[in-house]
Symmetry: C2
Subunit: 496 residues, 2 copies
């Protein structure tokens, strides 16, 4: 414990989770650690759930991104979330959001703390941050994610630290905490490569604001990533083929450019596929480091990975957490404002690979809303990367729900990424390279290369009729959303 908690004053702040929960009152704005189900505070949320079951209690909850250990679900179930931002992946919370019970703000992950810092969101009352250690000066060493923890801890009135005694001690030294200056005198952020270290390995705060220290033991939830299947392997092959070609054409070197991969099984599988390519000295500048990152590091393909969190499967976790020392000098964890920073992504020229729910024949992408209305998870960091990447790739299986739904449609039912921000579309059937093409040219490639053959005739018919009517981006307005309407009414698009 003395090694974990080096700040002398700590005993005066030591309390139980339920005592600390009393510091959080009804109506408050609370910021919590946690990013892609990694490094969330584990005890406080449960103490708050108990409190909410006893008395009228609800809060505005901000996190880095998604929480693990079913916490978002339990908090939603206890009706204690009045507002929630900027991302989530929980089925119970999702239901409450879609029922209009929780006011959810779906934000670019790089932007939440910028809004908070500029007082464009309500000021933060309490920050709750999981730590693997507390430094002699009261600085917080995060655990498996940085997320928004640094700015939350710096901006909140009070800070509650959950010191997780079971978190790997080797995490210390992995983090690089840097906070951009206040405008109008902000200086350039000096990250010039994935391995740039520009800050401190802990979150510096005035210990006077530490209101409570809670000792915990607990693990992150393992990743629910499923292993590559036939479809994702094909998608990886298409992408590897493209990248090889870019190297041949002299547009990229075999080191490519720093890679980013979105959350989920598809992006993870596609990233793993890079093992097979003729690439070397790869780097990552990403958000979440998944199993594929460590596959590539182990394969000697990847030299360095920068992210905001580490989220791995049970199996990978068994070796990784014991062996962390081995990866030490090849990893950095940054605040998500930095890992996703538009200016840095643009500077580095990241190759971004994110997953779409659906895309349309002109290259617009929907990452968030099923049938235009029901929130799935949120845009997450996909926009931060896609907009500013040198190469912006979106992947999806061409079919969803066993073929009931085509993920290639005439008109996406919600737009998260506009045609301006999408270079390459990939499904198991093939790849559409949209760079330098006008909408009418893109449509042909998207239909013929990416759509499932059973939906191609209907897409072709739509496009042909639309072209007869004319326009830069031809559409048949009365049919544009009819594919999604079919799903609402009949549960599938098969009649099309």
């Amino acid at each position: 414990l003395a090694r974990r908690c080096r700040w002398q004053g700590w005993e005066s702040r030591h309390m139980s989770a339920s005592q600390a929960a009393e510091l959080i009152r009804d109506g408050m704005t609370v910021g919590m650690s946690g990013f892609t189900r990694a490094g969330e505070a584990k005890a406080l949320p449960l103490a708050l759930v108990e409190k909410a079951r006893r008395e009228p209690f609800s809060i505005t909850l901000m996190t880095g991104a998604s929480l693990g250990n079913d916490l978002d679900g339990q908090m939603a179930d206890a009706h204690m979330l009045a507002r929630r931002m900027p991302f989530q992946v929980d089925p119970v919370l999702r239901r409450a959001i879609n029922a209009g019970e929780v006011m959810f703000m779906d934000q670019h992950l790089s932007e939440t703390v910028e809004l908070l810092r500029n007082h464009q969101l309500s000021d933060m009352d309490v920050a709750v941050v999981e730590a693997s250690a507390i430094t002699a000066d009261g600085g917080i060493v995060p655990t498996t994610s940085v997320g928004n923890s640094a700015s939350y801890a710096i901006l909140a009135d009070k800070v509650i630290i959950e010191l997780n005694l079971e978190s790997p001690a080797a995490l210390e030294g992995l983090h690089d905490i840097y906070i951009p200056q206040m405008r109008p005198s902000r200086q350039p952020i000096p990250v010039v490569a994935p391995d740039s270290r520009i800050g401190t390995p802990y979150i510096p705060i005035d210990p006077a604001r530490i209101a409570a220290i809670v000792l915990t033991r607990g693990k992150d939830s393992p990743s629910t990533c499923t292993p590559p299947d036939e479809d994702t392997r094909r998608m990886a092959d298409h992408l590897v083929e493209l990248l090889k070609q870019e190297v041949t054409l002299g547009r990229l070197t075999p080191a490519l450019l720093p890679l980013q991969a979105g959350i989920g099984s598809m992006a993870n599988a596609v990233m793993s596929g890079l093992k097979e390519g003729p690439f070397e000295h790869l780097t990552m500048y990403s958000e979440v480091l998944q199993d594929s990152t460590f596959d590539l590091l182990d394969a000697g393909k990847l030299d360095f990975a920068s992210g905001s969190s580490i989220t791995v499967t049970e199996e990978r976790g068994r070796t990784l957490w014991k062996d962390l020392e081995r990866y030490r000098d090849r990893l950095i964890l940054r605040p998500q404002e930095l890992s996703n920073h538009p200016g840095i992504v643009r500077r580095l020229g990241v190759i971004a690979v994110n997953t779409a729910l659906e895309f349309d024949i002109y290259g617009n992408v929907n990452s968030t809303h099923v049938c235009g209305t029901r929130m799935m998870n949120g845009i997450g960091g996909s926009g931060d990367f896609a907009r500013n990447a040198q190469l912006s790739v979106f992947i999806t299986k061409s079919l969803a729900k066993g073929g009931d739904i085509s993920s290639v449609v005439p008109f996406v039912s919600h737009v998260d990424h506009t045609e301006h921000d999408v270079d390459i579309l990939v499904t198991e059937h093939g790849l559409a390279d949209l760079r330098g093409l006008a909408p009418r040219e893109r449509a042909v490639l998207v239909i013929e290369n990416c759509a499932d053959p059973r939906y191609r005739p209907a897409l072709r018919a739509y496009f042909e009729e639309a072209c007869r009517r004319g326009g830069h981006t031809p559409h048949c307005l009365e049919q544009a959303l009819s594919w999604h309407r079919e799903v609402e009414v009949h549960g599938n698009m098969r009649a099309l």
Copy 2:
């Protein structure tokens, strides 16, 4: 002439426009100067039009943004534009684009040269750049715009310079040319304030690549901005009210933050409105400097303006061009990659004011496509600014076509700016502050504050029915685009 053309070798390259036009062959990719109808090459395009009328001839044409002097129209009319990017405002070209005759790529204005530099667009054969002077080393001093001229001149195989002997000599010294390094070793761009000077006052190129120098005389087209009217004055009032409140709340100082204003009469009028507010020591970090910039400079409200071009009305031009010396130390013209750079816009925290064609009840904005299909102008720089601004404002009159069309709709027919990138919506009726709100909360504000009263009942009915059906972003899919379909079928939305 000797003062304008200080490069000794110039006479060997001196030729007529039609001689120079012979350097451009069928199928080539050509980059031209010109941004918001300022500083375009004036003679070459006409010589190319003649050529196209004589022989089979068409090219891919890239510019900064729109060209003046009816050049885009004449080139479209001569069928010499196979491809065109990244922006245009010409009615004849617009018709050709919408007929599918010209393949138009509508791009974020900051991105075109990035794509070119990375060989993601076809390599540039010839650059045609208007100059006000040529330095002793063969460097090009641009005229009233920088646009993409610097990178085009640096990247093209051959450079044709149009030395405009009538352009104001006082332009020299106004420009600041800086080109980001190639990836992966790009360094931070050191702009930290609108008045940061980080480059050279001319475009440095190897004079060996100067293939022709054509002497011209000719003026930019004057701005077609119309003066403020009752509606735009109201919009300005709403925005001034908001900004005053932000100052009162301590979120902004009376100097605000660097201002950006989009093209067009509305944005110009709203900017002029800032004269009336209690603001001082304002700055601009924008693209096009319109009449309003000089109004604010003259009123002593604005300390400094950075842009990529100057486009003013006939009237303003009469005094401005004679008096340019007076504004000299308060102006910079930059490459559009810099004026619109996502990283710099984010660093400075720009207040962005752009014009929408229409927006929807959830805050999605359409800037480009009439009824989802017909291209108006293009997204221009609006996305570069809106995404990265500290405050992203979109303005539009609540009605178009004399009331036949509501510019506030249930579902925009095309998305250029997603709900994630829009903070404030303004019409003559009022303002909706969407910051920190969930979609259902936004809809109420947008309908009640921004929509024209005659369309409010139909919007309310849509929203209520949609809420009954549920979802994070409730919609009635079968009605979502019916408003635009009404316009296609009946020419108006009045039956709704």
